[in-house]
């Protein structure tokens, strides 16, 4: 079915899933070497288990981004999109550091939208977050469960 999407800024039909609906996902291997998708992995544990000079796992961020009512020539649909952003570095580039504020231990605010479970990392010039620099040489993976 093809349709005309009526999205944000058009007629306001899109309801973003933000706040607690956002979370981080971590992709790794379990003990049986099977690919596993971990939701809301506690990054503190990740940091503990992976010192900064070790090879860090990649962090992938996804969320159910939007539900959008759309009309086509003969159908009505509500699209449910889960966005997949590969790699933390790309995500970090998407998120302007000026929009990233540490509000408390488990909450971030991004452009007026609550994010929970955001995991970012990689090389960056971003300012210190949670007292840890995101330096060019040292990688820290920061997130909230």
């Amino acid at each position: 079915m093809s349709g005309e999407s009526l999205g944000v800024g058009e007629v306001g039909l899109t309801a973003r899933l933000a706040a607690d609906g956002d979370f981080a996902a971590l992709v790794g291997y379990d003990d049986a070497n099977q690919v596993r998708l971990y939701h809301g992995y506690p990054v503190e544990l990740l940091n503990r288990d992976n010192p900064p000079d070790s090879e860090f796992p990649r962090v992938t961020y996804f969320r159910a981004t939007s539900l959008k009512a759309a009309k086509g020539s003969g159908d009505l649909r509500i699209q449910v999109d889960i966005w997949v952003v590969y790699g933390a570095k790309e995500r970090l580039e998407e998120i302007d550091s000026r929009m990233l504020f540490l509000l408390d231990e488990e909450r971030w605010l991004h452009d007026g939208v609550w994010l929970s479970g955001l995991a970012v990392g990689g090389e960056s010039d971003a300012p210190a977050v949670r007292g840890r620099p995101l330096g060019r040489r040292r990688e820290y993976w920061i997130g909230v469960n």
Partner: protein, 139 residues
């Protein structure tokens, strides 16, 4: 479960969209159910009509979700097959009934149909339920 990360996780990243396909389908199902619920829990306040079987029923008023005396229309709602579209994994709650968009957004006619929104009111309901489901997905 303790997670160990060994070597490159690139294969795992490539597998991620596929892993999300059933999740997207689940979310679309939640959304479709919410649409049906919006329709079926509405109390029509429109005019009385004689239905196809000769029974009288009350139509919805403009602005209300559509009345469904037979249940045929809400029963037409379902989900599309989840698919990977670039960085998105998409599934949809949808109806293929042509009356669907005409009810949702109205139709200048003829015959003129005033909007009977039911998909849009379902969005915040579905969103809240999806949030709960997302929390449940956590390890």
């Amino acid at each position: 479960m303790r997670t160990r990360f060994r070597g490159s996780t690139a294969p795992a990243l490539r597998a991620l969209p596929e892993a999300l396909l059933p999740v997207a389908g689940d979310f679309a199902g939640i959304t479709s159910d919410a649409v049906v619920e919006v329709i079926e829990t509405s109390s029509p306040a429109g005019r009385m009509y004689r239905g196809p079987g000769g029974q009288m029923y009350r139509a919805s008023a403009p602005g209300q979700p559509p009345a469904s005396p037979t249940g045929e229309y809400p029963g037409s709602w379902g989900t599309t097959e989840p698919e990977i579209r670039g960085k998105r994994v998409r599934s949809s709650a949808a109806t293929d009934r042509t009356i669907g968009p005409r009810l949702e957004f109205g139709d200048p006619g003829p015959p003129v149909i005033a909007p009977r929104p039911h998909g849009r009111p379902a969005i915040p309901i579905a969103a809240e339920r999806i949030k709960v489901r997302m929390r449940e997905l956590r390890p």
